[in-house]
Point group: none
Chain length 213, copies 4
DNA sequence: ACATAACCGAGACGGTACGTCCGGTCTTGAA
DNA sequence: TTCAAGACCGGACGTACCGTCTCGGTTATGT
């Protein structure tokens, strides 16, 4: 009904037009970058699709087309960093592996927007069934896979009972979450070491004790 | 030009007037009850101060006067139930204490609005500095106090090393948080027992050494 | 990251491909039919180029190629019906001609999408200079030509003064527009007759009166 | 969930706050003025609630609270001018009254935003049932009342048959609409006079025939 | 006895964000 | 060159909440 008031500045604005009936990688890049920047600057509060669209010079429908919920956007931001950032250590010692991984993870969370992204994802999941589903189906499995092999290797070496591997992993993850969600992911080496040793001890096969008997 | 369809005659409503220059307990009760009901029905999503005010028949400033942030309201809802609902067990066995406490806590979270309230508090804390402060200063200390004595007693009995008590408590809390935040607080006795035993084992004094004994 | 749920495989659709470097009549037909149907069902509200393209299985550029504005599309819809639907009466009496024409026109407006199309054209012309131009240059002359001869014939018969023919035509058209735009084109024979007689009387040459003098 | 990012500039911005649980006349004035200005500058195209809110420094909900549809806003803009602008003439001659009124009305339509407002209202009514209702119930009766007495007086003087008054009024209104909707409300005195005389002649009592006299 | 102060419900206020729809442009890949 | 398809940006839509503010009224308290 209304003409768009002459979207005039077609010639002046470096508008990013369609490249045909398929996804425009430039738009995707711009949107993810805007989301990253916004999360880094303002965190979950202050994050809005509107602002992402503004910063990316993108239309909101373009965002919703590819990331139907904020959770999807958070996951994408996280995924873009993750691979490049954290190597799963393999030192031959579970305690060392865990301490190393925790230190690396916390640094990663502190120094990239991914910490904020994960916090946002967890928060969003409490408000939106859709986000909860995305968290459980698209996100958690990836994290479990990463760390899972650390515990699997430890079980292979006899450091922990194989049957406990999964439960220990859960304990370890809980430790991370609590610290992230309460903004205590500063690098406290002593704390990290203590926790790693506790986890290892918790998993120590019962055969480790008996000798004492 | 248009009247907003005459918002209902004031004289018919059993309005709850001021009782003078002091807090009206009836208003407080009504507001808390409305917040409880809303959390129970809709969870964090669907919770809004507007809706609480509507349900309570209260003015928004009355709510903001007594609970300056949503976090305060969530904490109040939680606190109203907590005392009555969970007794800290003292069976003489740390594993049994933990398993009992977890089962009771999860039931409490499932069967009262408090589970939703805590999830809401955690989510809110990710978006609001004020809520984060309330979480850390008004809420967490209370929980730590509860459970702290369980570990203290266990240390006193020699079940765990006193130096590890606090770290073990953190692990245990992390376990609860992960399950709450991913909506897995169904009563799985086997899982709970396994985790309790792991915690105990993690805290086991260096009996591994005790060949020395 | 997320595919927009794979919008149906292209190979199953009975796609209407290009027939080479010239206009495809099948596409034109499908688009006009879709526009007709949409106008008939939803009226001006609910009419959109997107929806027409969806219904016609056409691309939007195809529509814009042949009908650069919505006004052109409305006019095309109107024109497709008009010729076949209304015969300009010639009874020898202006009043009878007018009453007959009005009755036929209103029936036509009620029973085909053309009434909606004309309303849409008038509305669109208020928002778009392009549509206003189309209305004035492509549409109105046709209507004037139709009815013009009715008045010309009446002037030839001495029923009305030739000098007034055009002004009477304007009055008559205004009558139609008011009724169309306020959704009062139900067939009220008495009203129509009264108005036709008034028009005739307005045009009666002044020589009709003098005898009385 | 999200803090409004510290609406900070409370102290700097001359924000127009609420004045309590009742309508703020300053807001009403600002909104109407913004709507007037926007209509005057851009017409129906280019008119949007968003832009009105921006110009008025008002929130969209404030606009929707008092003018639930654009039609209501158009009517309010029209009404604000109308009373002050057009006096219904009473010269003792219907033709002179009509010509005078038409000239005044067209000038009013040209020189205030009311012409654009009425065009917008008519257009909007073609797209929205709500607007059509507002047009028929809130707007047209007022216009009919204005002009009605001109014809009533003429009938009292015997210039026209009382039974024809209403129909003549319709013809006269149709004349105005056609010229407004096709942007031909420039002051063409000859055209206006001719049309006024035609209307008078159309209403002439059948005393014309009365050779009987 | 009476002013004052704090409380109460109510609801308007400016604003921001939501998620959706449409307009008009552009590009692709096939015919 | 035309076609269907559909992505692109922009912007408007109407609604929900946010947190603040002001009102008019009520009730206790302190003078």
């Amino acid at each position: 009904m209304n003409e768009p008031d002459t979207p005039a500045p077609t010639e002046t604005a470096p508008r990013r037009a369609s490249i045909g009936a398929r996804r425009n990688p430039a738009a995707e890049t711009a949107i993810l970058a805007a989301a990253r920047g916004l999360l880094a600057e303002k965190g979950y509060a202050g994050f809005s699709i509107d602002e992402v669209a503004r910063r990316a010079g993108a239309g909101k429908p373009t965002i919703y087309r590819w990331w139907p919920s904020k959770a999807d956007l958070f996951i994408a931001v996280y995924a873009a960093d993750k691979a490049a950032a954290i190597a799963v250590p393999d030192t031959g010692s579970l305690a060392a592996d865990l301490a190393g991984y925790t230190a690396a993870l916390w640094r990663f969370w502190r120094e990239t927007p991914s910490g904020a992204a994960f916090r946002a994802l967890l928060a969003e999941a409490q408000a939106s069934e859709q986000a909860m589903t995305a968290l459980r189906e698209k996100f958690l499995p990836l994290r479990l896979a990463d760390l899972g092999c650390v515990f699997t290797r430890a079980a292979g070496r006899g450091e922990i009972a194989a049957a406990d591997a999964e439960s220990l992993l859960q304990l370890y993850i809980g430790f991370h979450w609590v610290h992230l969600l309460t903004e205590r992911i500063d690098e406290d080496a002593a704390l990290i070491d203590r926790m790693a040793r506790l986890i290892v001890r918790a998993g120590r096969p019962d055969t480790a004790a008996p000798p004492s008997r």
